[in-house]
Amino acid sequence: MSTEVAIVGIGMHEFGRTEGVSGMEQGVIAVRRACADAGVKWEDVQFAFGGSAAAGAADTMVSQLGLTGLQFINVANGCATGGSALFSAYNTIRSGVFDLGIAIGFDKHERGAFRVDTRGAGLGNWYGASGLALTTQFFGMKINRYMHEYGISHSTLGKVSEKAFRNGSMNPMAWRRKPISEQEALDSLMLSYPLTQYMFCSPGEGGVALILARADKAHLYTDKPIFLNAAVVRSRRFGSFEVLAPSIALEHNAGPTVDSSKAAFEMAGIGPEDIDLAQLQDTEAGAEVMHMAENGFCEHGEQEFMIQAGETEIGGKFPVNTDGGCLANGEPIGASGLRQVYENVLQLRGQAGARQVPNDPKVAYTHVYGAPGISGVTILSR
């Protein structure tokens, strides 16, 4: 595997709701924590890529961090904002332009389901006015069709939520830290059939920063460098079924997750069987189920057995969303993809505490998915 770029420092601001602290300030705190983790000063950082969806232009945070004159590029790419910042930082180092840089994501959203700017999304006002512009509807419809085609049960959706909240209860950075049972998840308010309140993540707040260095210099900053073996972002192709789509083609295409996953495995030169744990986009419980197969970790329909048998639990054969995922952490759009990478760095360093995956995991995978049909994947190893 390619080992040109290493993650040498990680920082996070707690996810959830932090009254009185702006999204930008949460980003600044994450940056300071990442610098402290790597033992670098802000003035040592040569470049930054950063973004948020709803909490302002990332480059203005230099007025709080210090006006060092570094190259700072704002990234705005919806749910793949964090993944795009990381992709850009990764390739900036690979290109040889700089040796040390940072990828930053933060956000702060209003309560309740995302309010969709139909015009900004390239859709007519009639679409939202008619009651169709809700991302939650897409997720309900995608998993409903999937359950029909592949025999996934309501119980399995409940078990995904139960696992997420249990893992979240072991994560001091998580928003939701109170375990719930499968039955409580199934019995909670039905928001968008077949998905209930506890099967959906909520828009939230938080910040994550990752410091990247040329791998041959990583030892200057850490004795536990984590190598970034692949970082890929893909958009949709014709025929895929995506969020906020007034229509979809009759012919079927597997979608951007399948494309980004294949490209990432090719880039890293390994396959799904080499992955020890994964953080997969779980906007809702069904998404985690479907993304297991779309990322190549099982055949469509096999998830029913795997999840019922506990294989995706922290102590199982293939742990998924060990930090509680979006379900327990909420979704601050700009920070969400970097949270997954943060968790995998902790797991590969052996620093994940009560939720540490046993047997010294070596290779870990992240996957984000979002509007209007984009996906980002990373592969990390130690």
Binding site: A113, A129, P246, L250
Partner: protein
């Protein structure tokens, strides 16, 4: 009370048999909804307007169980009076799958593959007292 469509150019109205207005790619025949100028399938730059079929089969569905945010939603958002509504994709044979409100919101009565027909339904009342209508699909009795 006069009836006005939620927008012009998305469905034919007034009409005894309302139809959705879409586009067809002159080069490859791909259908699009709503109307658009470029083809996402073949990258063709020339499309022509077509009326879409009124009947199809339910490809997937959900039920909107909570009031959407307003704006953009124009319908009832009062939690006390809000009524859940169905949302689905209806596969129009040989054309495209379109997303629409459904007149049925009972999970027991919605089945993937069932026959559906396009109808016009009331959505809200505008500032002038007109009834705003939009399109939906109803199960074929």
């Amino acid at each position: 009370m006069a009836q006005v469509p939620v927008t012009e150019g998305v469905f034919t109205w007034p009409s005894e048999t309302p139809q959705l207005i879409g586009s067809r790619c002159v080069a490859c025949g791909n259908h699009m909804f709503p109307v658009q100028a470029g083809c996402p399938k073949c990258t063709g730059e020339k499309t022509e307007q077509v009326l879409l079929g009124r009947r199809g089969t339910l490809w997937t569905w959900t039920v909107q169980g909570f009031p959407p945010k307003a704006p953009p939603y124009a319908g009832d958002v009062d939690p006390k009076t809000f009524k859940a509504f169905g949302v689905g994709y209806v596969e129009l044979p040989g054309q495209i799958k379109v997303e629409a409100r459904l007149t049925e919101a009972d999970p027991e009565k919605l089945k993937i593959g069932m026959e559906m027909e396009m109808v016009i339904v009331p959505l809200s009342t505008d500032a002038s007292g007109n009834e705003v209508v939009t399109f939906a699909f109803a199960p074929v009795a």
